[in-house]
Amino acid sequence: MTDVTRAEVCTVAVAEAFRGAGEILVSCFGTTPAVGARLARMTFEPDILMTDGICSLVQNVDSVSGEKIEPVIEGWTPFRSIFDLLWGGRRHVMMIASQIDRYGNQNFACIGEHAKPKAQLLGMRGAPGNTLSHRTSYWIPNHSPGVFVEKVDVVSGVGYDRAAELGPRTARFHDIHRVISNLGVFDFATPDRRMRLASLHPGVTVDEVVGKTGFELAIDGEVPETRKPSEEELQLIREAIDPKGFINKEVRS
């Protein structure tokens, strides 16, 4: 399977982040997360709930670039019910991060000083509530020292150091699960909850990751390789979920 693309490896890494999710809502920002979540639902996590991005829970949102099929709607989630669902915790969101630091503090609000930003980005959106309410992961399609930074300009999503300051009661639902980039998979399985290089995508070296990360990563021993897609997974990605290969535009091999 020498022809597996980097984007396909990322897709499987996303799907793996949702392993064990069970019957919860999975929400994604970005193309690769959308494909990965669908892959998880079509293989080992069939009970995941997904929305149409508007306000319906749709049972068969299995394709991002294939033919449009008649949706099977299983529920209604108008915006007025969304924060009930989020704050109630039955959700795993994979957000993007324009900046992220070693403890998983995330910024997608703006770059520069908040009072007069160099670049206004999405704003706080629901990140503050998400990160204190349910499992959160991050997707970073362009791993660089400008994204993996020593200090984020604005904290929109709570990281582990700040969660610790809030105390165990307030932070009891705080759970930054994975950070997935185009180079590797990262987690916080360290004693002080610093970001750790959990696996390298095939063809990526530790030096490359370290060179493109603006802070010191925890790296223990031999770093494993990110799992490659199985034949069945490749077929699902290429034929059912993303026949036009949108993921390969988001992540170049």
């Binding site: 915006f79 930003p117 206004q120 980005l121 509530g129 990160t131 105390g167 009661r169 932070a171």
Partner: protein, 282 residues
């Protein structure tokens, strides 16, 4: 009671420095005919509360916003409202009050049910606390003793919402998939104006949609404005989709002062009737 009125009469109630809120969400079912009327009025120094779309972008562009309460400002198909982005990057909004989206709902809900605040975890540990220096914490009086954000009630002087159908008494009906936060805006405000695509007889509501589509009742509304196309260029599902071509044209004016001047002269310095006629003629 017959509550029919016009955009001009509604906007004449506004005073400098008032706090106003707009229903809808992003570029979805926004009371745009009222926004356009505000742009033509002399009112300024407004505090604006919105799940923001072009309402916020336009009011910022016209320099009418003193304080902005928001979680995001988006055109949906264009993720970031370009006039809002520019206003932010130029530091043109004097008091920026960026919140978690859920905190905005919580603040409106607190005002709606006349509570001083509602507790939430959202905001703790983030820069929401620095950006909003008015925020205070509250400690649970129960055994857990958890410290939470006391999201203050967002009390509005005036609320504006747009519905698909309404009767003259102020009952409103949405025909799209989502009612957003429109009822909360109305309940959080002292004075409430509802524009609609079409005024119908009360007895005809249920031939338009199920009972669940009647989200706004007449205790929540002081004035009803019949405004066909009133949400344009935002979407008003049930009646029309978003005018993406028009929206792209609008968005492009943020980067081109000449294009802005011609957009403004063509679509904003004109009456609502002329606006609708020009849109129809496109």
């Amino acid at each position: 009671m017959d509550k029919r009125t016009t955009e001009a009469e509604a906007v004449s109630e506004l005073r400098d420095g008032m706090t106003i809120g707009f229903g809808g969400w992003g570029s979805r079912r926004k009371p745009m005919s009222i926004v356009r009327e505000i742009l033509r009025s002399p009112v300024r120094d407004l505090t604006v509360v919105s799940y923001g779309g072009p309402d916020v972008g336009l009011l910022c562009k016209y320099g009418k916003v003193k304080r902005l309460l928001y979680g995001f400002v988006s055109l949906d198909s264009i993720p970031l409202e370009p006039h809002f982005r520019r206003a932010r990057q130029e530091g043109a909004i004097p008091e920026v009050r960026e919140l978690d989206e859920g905190m905005l709902q919580w603040g409106l809900y607190a005002a709606a049910i006349r509570l001083p605040f509602l507790p939430t975890r959202a905001g703790l540990g983030t820069d929401v606390m620095q950006i909003n220096p008015e925020l205070r914490l509250v400690k649970s009086p129960y055994e857990d003793g958890e410290e939470l954000v006391a999201m203050p009630a967002i009390e509005l002087d005036v609320a504006f919402v747009h519905q698909n159908r309404a009767d003259v008494h102020g009952n409103g009906q949405y025909l799209g998939p989502d009612f957003y936060f429109d009822d909360l805006y109305c309940m959080a405000a002292k004075k409430r104006f509802m524009s609609c695509e079409k005024i119908i007889d009360t007895q005809d509501f249920l031939s338009e949609g199920s009972i669940h589509t009647l989200r706004i009742n007449r205790t929540m509304v002081d004035g009803v404005i019949e405004a066909p196309g009133g949400a344009h260029f935002t979407e008003c599902p049930g009646d029309y989709g978003r005018d993406e071509k028009f929206q792209s044209e609008y968005a492009a004016t943020a980067k081109d002062e000449e294009a802005w001047e011609s957009f403004r002269a063509g679509y904003l310095d004109v009456s609502e009737a002329d606006y609708q006629a020009k849109v129809a003629a496109r």
